[in-house]
């Protein structure tokens, strides 16, 4: 069965390593914080100016001055620190953040990503996404494999205005874990109960399928 948003987050959380600073984007990526594997310590950075982001506050303890980049009320963990936006993006551009997880509307087999604009329909802006994808060494995209019309979002070439070029190396969808190498997608794992055939049929980009494709362990 295809994963839900929490399942995607849970699979991405397996990529976390002890001691990493991690930036989580809005949407599915935010959920990754709920599945930190036992025995490892990571610090979450939110680009509006906090390192050491904690869980949502208890009801009645919300502070309008303490939010994440999704404008949600949050808490600060022990040892947290606040800083201005220029310092925040110095951390990001300067590659002091080890992992960036963000959502996408489209990903292409050359590592291009599009997630900020649908011409004529939706223009919300790129926020910090362009800075993040241009600088991060390690980017994981969290997304659904297809759009609501059932069309593949895993493409040969992006059709929407780009957020970044050649930057994505790993994609986790509701159906599969994919790596991007040598201009092609490589199927690494499939969601529990999802067939290789289904993934192949829902992937528009070139996909390299090994003889054995293990199921994700969640």
């Amino acid at each position: 069965m295809a994963l839900d948003k929490n399942g995607i987050a849970q699979r991405i959380a397996q990529e976390l390593r002890d001691g990493w600073y991690v930036n989580l984007g809005i949407g599915i990526p935010t959920l990754v914080a709920n599945y930190i594997p036992e025995g490892i310590e990571v610090e979450f950075q939110s680009e509006n100016g906090i390192l050491g982001m904690g869980p949502f506050p208890f009801e009645g303890e919300e502070d309008a001055d303490l939010i994440n980049a999704g404008k949600q009320t949050i808490t600060a963990r022990k040892g947290a620190v606040f800083f201005d936006s220029a310092t925040s993006f110095a951390m990001i551009r300067g590659q002091h953040v080890q992992l960036t997880v963000l959502g996408a509307m489209e990903v292409a087999q050359n590592g291009d990503i599009a997630n900020w604009k649908i011409p004529g329909k939706m223009v919300k802006g790129m926020g910090g996404a362009m800075d993040l994808v241009a600088s991060a060494e390690n980017i994981i995209v969290a997304m659904m494999h297809t759009n609501r019309a059932g069309e593949s979002k895993i493409l040969k070439e992006c059709t929407l205005p780009l957020t970044g070029v050649g930057c994505v190396k790993k994609v986790v969808t509701d159906l599969a874990v994919l790596e991007i190498k040598d201009g092609r997608f490589h199927l690494i794992e499939r969601a529990p109960g999802v067939s290789v055939e289904e993934i192949v049929s829902k992937t528009e980009g070139d996909l390299v399928v090994p003889d054995h494709v293990p199921e994700m362990k969640l």
């Binding site: 936006s85 551009r93 926020g127």
Partner: protein, 232 residues
């Protein structure tokens, strides 16, 4: 040097039609609410506003949009605002969307006397159109220019009569860089104290960047996305 002005009216004196303003804040967090209310009252028009976001329909910069006071917005993210989207798609409002880190650095550069800088953000995208590209360490970068403003309006938690500022939590965001980049910088604060009461070790924005400071009358501090967890 005493920077204190006694009212928001006095603080915003000199702001005219067609000027460029920087306004601090991220979403509705750390925005200069009192000054925005006064801009609505003044009715100044054709403004170019540099701010990370454009408020929501009925608060923050959304209030200036309702009154069609803004000619051009320079921002990184403008979701959550229907009137903004309507004015932009109909062409009434000019919009320059730029990556958030580039926006922060362009303000910082403007205040720091650096006319331009190279950044990898936006290379290969619409943002790079018409901009010089140069390769550093094997990686392409685009040239981004500094931003300054006729007035920068920032919001701080505590300030002293010298204009020294301390921000609270994530309400700091763009405020310190914008304070640096205004020809005239106005700070509205929740608490205004005499010089000497703030520990110089913990000042975020030195008063040299601030020309006028006043205590805001009322801070509504609206929350955009109230997210909570249940107590077990």
């Amino acid at each position: 040097m005493n920077k204190v002005v006694n009212s928001v009216e006095e603080a915003l004196d000199g702001i005219q039609d067609g000027m460029t303003l920087m306004l601090g804040g991220f979403g509705l967090c750390g925005i200069p609410e009192n000054s925005i209310a006064q801009l609505v009252k003044l009715g100044v028009k054709d403004l170019t506003c540099i701010s990370n976001n454009a408020g929501v329909d009925d608060f923050g910069l959304g209030l200036l949009l309702q009154g069609k006071q803004i000619k051009k917005m320079i921002s990184s993210y403008v979701g959550e605002n229907d009137e903004f989207e309507r004015q932009m798609l109909s062409g009434e409002l000019e919009v320059d969307l730029i990556p958030q880190g580039s926006l922060a650095e362009r303000c910082r550069a403007g205040g720091a006397g650096i006319p331009a800088f190279f950044t990898p953000a936006g290379y290969g995208t619409e943002v790079a159109e018409g901009k010089e590209v140069r390769i550093f360490n094997g990686k392409p970068h685009i040239l981004e220019s500094a931003l300054t403003a006729d007035f920068a309006i920032v919001k701080a938690w505590k300030g002293d009569t010298e204009g020294n500022l301390i921000f609270k939590a994530t309400a700091r965001n763009f405020n310190p860089m914008m304070a640096m980049a205004g020809k005239i910088t106005i700070a509205e604060v929740e608490e205004l104290v005499p010089a000497g009461e703030l520990d110089p070790n913990f000042i975020h924005t030195p008063g040299i960047f601030v020309q006028r400071i006043f205590k805001g009358e009322k801070f509504e501090k609206r929350i955009e996305q109230r997210t909570v967890r249940q107590r077990n």
